[in-house]
């Protein structure tokens, strides 16, 4: 049988850890969006040099596991004389990973904006900055939205790995409780519950967001 007393006693620890998970995920998603957008623009406008650097970054980021990236930041960099806090490591790691996925989603959106749309913008005298802001990006965003939402959910889930750099997130708390009390079922049960409680509303919100925006697009 489940040890309800244990669950009741340890629940606050999960709530606190959930706060950290959410804070990390929120910051990671926000920074990933910014980084991804900048990368996608560099690719879209074919900025010399930068676009090659971006392409290399995307390949590197997408083809290495977050676990290895975090290990490198947390255990590797100090050997090179760079000491970062757990929080900074986790945030950099998450952004490094998420940035490339967001970049690909934005790029897909930008690529979907037809040449005719760009020419229509040019024909009323728009320059590239105004064109990006008023014509290309709004349309690209609508196309990219489902991808951006999926990546955000993915990043929230990926935060579960930051416990390896000693950040007390949900996963960290569960592992600690198992190690201390051997209440494996309760600890893991609460962990699953916590993630579901966080992710279900997020998924619902994203879905309604996508539905809402779907009507604002296409059908030239």
């Amino acid at each position: 049988m489940l040890n309800w007393a244990f669950i009741a006693e340890k629940a606050p620890a999960y709530v606190k850890a959930a706060g950290l998970t959410l804070k990390l995920a929120g910051a990671g998603i926000a920074l990933s969006l910014v980084l991804g957008l900048l990368c996608a623009l560099a690719l879209y406008y074919r900025v010399p040099v930068l676009r090659r650097a971006v392409a290399a970054y995307i390949e590197l980021s997408r083809n290495t596991p977050l676990l290895i990236q975090l290990f490198f930041l947390y255990f590797g960099l100090p050997k090179l004389g760079v000491m970062l806090s757990s929080w900074t490591c986790a945030l950099i790691g998450l952004t490094f990973l998420g940035g490339s996925y967001m970049a690909e989603a934005f790029r897909g959106g930008l690529d979907s904006v037809s040449k005719a749309q760009i020419e229509a913008g040019l024909s009323i005298g728009m320059r590239s900055l105004a064109l990006a802001r008023h014509v290309a990006l709004p349309q690209a965003f609508l196309v990219a939205l489902p991808g951006l939402c999926a990546n955000s959910v993915f990043l929230i889930k990926e935060t579960s790995i930051v416990s390896i750099v000693a950040l007390p997130d949900l996963m960290f708390v569960a592992r600690e409780l198992i190690g201390l009390y051997y209440n494996t079922v309760e600890a893991l049960g609460m962990l699953v519950f916590a993630y579901v409680v966080i992710l279900l509303p997020v998924s619902w919100a994203f879905r309604s967001l996508e539905r809402r925006f779907r009507y604002a697009q296409l059908g030239t």
């Binding site: 005719a116 749309q117 020419e119 229509a120 913008g121 040019l122 024909s123 009323i124 005298g125 728009m126 320059r127 105004a130 008023h134 014509v135 709004p138 349309q139 609508l142 604002a216 697009q217 296409l218 059908g219 030239t220």
Partner: protein
Amino acid sequence: MNQEALPLLQIKGLVKTYGKAPALNGVSLSVGKGDAVVILGPSGCGKSTLLRCINGLERIQSGEIILNGENISNPGARWDLVRQRVGMVFQSYDLFPHMSVLDNVLLGPLKVQKRDKAEARRQAEGLLARVGLLDRKKDYPRQLSGGQKQRVAIVRALCMNPDLMLFDEVTAALDPEMVREVLDVIAGLAEQGMTMLIVTHEMDFAKAIADKAVFIVDGAVEEESDGEVFFRNPRTERARRFLNSFQYESRRPRRKTGAAPSGLTPVPVTRATMG
């Protein structure tokens, strides 16, 4: 020199190539202020390319494009400024799908020309009313028919107060019953003295509106005549054959001899609904 006599648009020896294939091979023509110039020619002759060169959507290899006495084809030309004076309407309308009709029309005046919002809005609404679409100003492009979209696209270009309008086969993508509503708008503009270059395959319309007709074959001007002259009695053999090809009856062996029986003017019959 007399300012009045200076053509609004002058093109001299325009050459445009795609790789090695020439699209325009030394095109020269001039367009006087207030003229409606119709550009005709077989498919792929370079008509659309010519329009696209005039507002810088295609880079040219050599030649000059002179607008209001100013050479706009210089390497250092500010195309964004030129395009504010040269309105373009495309075959596929190309309205911005994420904006309402009114926002489509106002984007240029507000974000490019930085005009006063109330004033620009008054003009936009006035123009929309003129093409009969004021009640649709809050709709999105997807809610409009093809003909309505094209009328909005015309208004979008007009609201920039251009000196010159370019129409690139603007009815080619429309269902036949919507062609008229768009052509009427263009005809109305011509009447008000808007200078325009029109690429079209609607022969009845071309004949009705053309102050001047420019017939292009293989990237070069084959004939440049008064509209009246061109449609009644074209000077060149190829133009004559081209016009005849729009007339169903005349497509029999007569064509081979080339000479349309004199007195029988090739009045083209097309699906166009003018008149």
